[in-house]
């Protein structure tokens, strides 16, 4: 059997959408190849380890509606690469992990093996602090040539990937659905950019729709592709924590950005630190962990100097990455409401503050007030 022929069978098998993708490869091996699986009758399928009657029915149903040649043609015509586990292009790091995917579907390129790779993950519903940190770490890491992997979700995922691309870096998204589906749809622009400067990966066939049950499994690919996991912001019980568990099982180092202990969005992070994860305060901290010989040529980060008047300076110093209301700022600064408003608008124009909710402002950029 030549390679293309085998590929067609493998593609059929990889497109089987199972809730436990880890077993896909195991089953293929125990059957002695996907061609056999395709040809076995029901009896034989059930006799295989790990195949229930229902699973066997699924397989039979799937292959009845499947035209091997036409489907493979279609996949190629859509510009989607299928990389089975034995392919030389299959990412080495991922291959070393337990339960790695049977095959990867890919739009764009695959993460290069000779460059460091950091997975940045965190809450979808993140705070302005999380937003700021994701942006800062991802763009700094990308500046050092590090690849950023994440899940292209709302919040931290998307923000960090966008920041990496903006910094001229590479980024890869692992989806919980077929690679030709942009999920969430609002990240369409990011999705298109990722195809250009990185890639969009998935272990699911192109017909797989996004579904909550598929997301935990894709998280193991995110951590599997990376050397280090960076948790930006996470609630105590969240999908992010599932990824952390998987990363630990895979032997990945987990680094965490600490937050305030009263902030529910940082409870997960702080708990991880308590349990022994490494707190990091800058991208350089991560670089040292990746490479002991890392030579930081930007040791002292110089903050940009911005001219502010007395009131603006006072208000700026009170602003935080957490939203504060006008009334609150007026009280804390002892300034007249009118002056606070004028200062905030001026700070907004200078790009130092932004309105996140009506009447609520956050600090968006660090600077040295002069």
């Amino acid at each position: 059997m030549d390679n293309t022929e085998q590929m067609k069978y493998d593609y059929w098998w990889a497109g089987m959408d199972r809730a436990y993708p880890g077993s896909v490869k195991k089953t293929a091996l125990s059957a002695g190849g996907t061609k056999h699986l395709y040809e076995m009758d029901r009896e034989e399928l059930i006799n295989l380890e790990g195949i229930s009657e229902k699973y066997a029915d699924d397989i039979i149903k799937k292959r009845q509606n499947w035209n091997l040649d036409a489907e493979y043609e279609k996949l190629l015509s859509m510009g989607i690469d299928f990389i089975p586990y034995y392919d030389v292009r299959y990412p080495e790091r991922l291959k070393m992990t337990q339960g790695h995917p049977f095959g990867l579907f890919c739009k764009g390129s695959l993460p290069p093996g000779d460059v460091y790779c950091v997975a940045v993950i965190g809450a979808r519903n993140c705070s302005e602090y999380g937003r700021m940190m994701a942006r800062r770490f991802a763009s700094d890491l990308a500046g050092y040539g590090v690849t950023i992997v994440s899940g292209m979700a709302y919040g931290i995922d998307g923000i960090s990937q966008e920041a990496a691309l903006n910094a001229g870096g590479r980024s890869y998204a692992v989806l919980g659905c077929g690679v030709n589906t942009c999920y969430p749809a609002s990240n369409r622009v990011l999705y298109e950019r990722l195809k250009e400067n990185g890639g969009v990966l998935s272990e699911y066939g192109i017909y797989t729709k996004p579904s909550a049950r598929l997301f935990p499994a894709r998280n193991r690919i995110i951590s599997g592709l990376a050397d280090i996991l960076l948790v930006v912001e996470a609630r105590e019980k969240s999908g992010t924590m599932i990824t952390v568990d998987m990363a630990l099982e895979q032997g990945r180092e987990v680094t965490v950005i600490p937050g305030r202990i009263t902030d529910p969005l940082s409870t997960g992070c702080n708990r991880l630190i308590k349990q022994g994860a490494t707190p990091v305060m800058s991208a350089e901290d991560i670089m040292y962990m990746l490479d002991e010989s890392f030579d930081n040529n930007r040791k002292t980060v110089k903050l940009p100097k911005v001219k502010l008047d007395k009131n603006e300076k006072k208000v700026y110093e009170l602003l935080e990455p957490y939203a504060r209301s006008i009334g609150d700022l007026s009280e804390a600064s002892g300034l007249e409401l009118k002056d606070v408003i004028c200062s905030l608008v001026e700070l907004g124009i200078k790009g130092l503050a932004a309105e996140t909710g009506k009447g609520y402002y956050v600090r968006t950029r660090e600077c040295l007030a002069v």
């Binding site: 006008i326 909710g357 009447g359």
Partner: protein, 506 residues
């Protein structure tokens, strides 16, 4: 024998004269009503016959024809009962005197012959006065409403016998002068006054600016923060209605049947707050014989939409045209009706479905949920809201503070001064307030130094504010300058206007 009397009907909120003719002749006994009548007018036949009988008149066993002229306008309402009865009595010879041509008669009859009140008395009396009518005979119940229009004799009658005696000159009824006690200054304000509003400095300032330029306004804030209370205070800081405005507003309420309990013209600006389940027809006005809707009831006052995001999208979209035209045209197969609708739109909504955003430790909504919630207000509608303020939930400290804030009366003084400045500026230009300025007017009236204009353009670019918002900010800045008594727009006015812009939501 033939006789006729004058009466009035209502078309939209405008009265029109109706001549009621009655003819009694020999022939088969019957009682016929003609004149393009709707159901309730046709039912008058039974009411008139029975009422006359019960007041001791002998209903003639003859052929009776009653006509309501002009015959090409549909007549509706129950106000024609009394004029019909009077016309028949006159034709019967029971009323011997000729009924003068400068008198109109309005009223509904009960079976026992008593006269009961009808809707729309005020606009009919006003219209009649303008047509040279000297005397209006109306139901006793409606006499306060009729007396709101000056310079016309109002005769309130109780029953059909009384009016017959009166018209025969056998009984005097003193023309009613209305309640004249109490000056115009005395206004019956409810408990709403800004002095009871604690804290909320930003919102109070927003309210003052909105009232000064008649800008539409959106309030965003957590549930229970006091958005409704603030909104209810708006009529107390707007100038009281002028005499003409009061007649106009009272007329609308009269047609809607909401004026019966009041003794005087409405002097306070209306505050209308429909529930969010309201339909688009209830909002604009409508029905088979269109009646004014919520937006017309809010004419010259405030239309407050609480929980604005919960209103059906369609109901909100119908507001767009009246916000531009300051009136609403309702077309039905009976005709086309124009209702005035010059109101200030005030909306209130939560910042997110749960109401806690941006406090992320409490807010349980996801980003898409929040977006979807804010998107319920369409862009074109938001473009018509010049001011957006946030209403903060009060701290307990602030709530327990007994000190009173600045009162509505004090704020109203500043608002009236700002209105005065606008009146002088816009003299002869067809607009009254800053909010009504179009692109051309903003160019003409929003003066500022070149220096400031350059700074402003630069700021808009940096803040990524759309060109659409440019005009809105200028209009609000103009109002802020008016409050400050400045002829030119200064930098700080622009800054405050930018802060009040709703670009965060759009």
């Amino acid at each position: 024998m033939l006789s006729s009397v004058l009466s009035f009907g209502i078309h939209g909120i405008e009265g029109f004269c109706v001549k009621v003719e009655a003819d009694i002749s020999d022939g088969m006994p019957m009682f016929e009503l003609v004149g393009y009548l709707s159901g309730e007018v046709r039912e008058a036949r039974e009411r008139v016959r029975t009422a006359l009988k019960n007041k001791g008149f002998t209903f003639p066993v003859k052929r009776i024809t009653v006509n309501l002229s002009p015959g090409n306008i549909r007549k509706q309402g129950t106000g024609y009962d009394l004029p019909m009865a009077v016309a028949i009595l006159s034709a019967m010879g029971e009323i011997r005197q000729e009924i003068p041509g400068d008198t109109i008669i309005l009223g509904e009859l009960m079976l026992n012959g008593d006269v009961t009140g009808i809707n729309g008395i005020l606009p009919m009396v006003i219209k009649a006065r303008s047509m040279g009518i000297k005397r209006c005979i109306i139901p006793y119940e409606n006499r306060d409403e009729g007396a709101m229009a000056d310079d016309v004799e109002i005769i309130g009658v109780h029953d059909i016998r009384e009016i017959a005696l009166y018209l025969n000159g056998e009984y005097e009824i003193e023309p009613y002068k209305g309640v004249r006690s109490g000056s115009d200054e005395e206004t019956s304000y409810n408990a709403c006054d800004l002095k009871y509003v604690k804290g909320q400095k930003v919102a109070r300032r927003g309210l003052e600016i909105a009232a000064s330029g008649m800008h539409n306004m959106l309030m965003v804030g957590a549930p229970g923060a006091g958005k409704s209370m603030l909104a209810k205070c708006i009529p107390t800081i707007l100038p009281p209605l002028t005499k003409e405005e009061a007649l106009e507003v009272s007329s609308i309420y009269s047609v809607a049947g909401l004026l019966k309990s009041s003794k005087r013209l409405m002097r306070e600006r209306p505050f209308v707050s429909p529930h969010h389940t309201v339909t688009d027809v209830a909002m604009t006005g409508g029905g088979v014989y269109p009646r004014p809707g919520n937006i017309s009831l809010a004419h010259r006052g405030v239309l407050f939409l609480d929980e604005m995001a919960e209103f059906s999208r369609y109901t909100l979209e119908v507001l767009r045209q009246p916000l531009e035209d300051r009136s609403i045209t309702v077309a039905r197969n009976q005709g086309t009706y124009v209702f005035p609708a010059d109101f200030m739109l005030v909306g209130a909504m939560n910042p997110c479905p749960c109401g806690a955003y941006p406090d992320l430790s409490k807010c349980t909504c996801t980003e898409p949920q929040r977006k979807r919630y804010l998107n319920r207000l369409s862009r074109p509608l938001l473009d018509r809201m010049d001011i957006c303020v946030d209403v903060e939930r009060l701290s307990y400290e602030c709530m327990l503070d007994d000190a009173l804030s600045e009162s509505s009366a004090d704020v109203r003084k500043r608002v009236m001064e700002a209105h005065e400045r606008q009146k002088i500026r816009f003299e002869g230009s067809g607009i009254l307030f800053n909010s009504q300025m179009g692109a051309e007017e903003t160019g003409r009236f929003c003066r500022m130094s070149d220096d400031i204009r350059k700074w402003f353009m630069d700021a808009l670019e940096r803040l990524d504010i759309s060109a659409r918002s440019y005009n809105k900010i200028l209009k609000v800045a103009r109002t802020i300058a008016d409050i400050a008594g400045s002829d030119e727009i200064e930098r700080e006015h622009l800054k405050e206007a930018m802060f009040l812009n709703n670009s965060y939501i759009i």
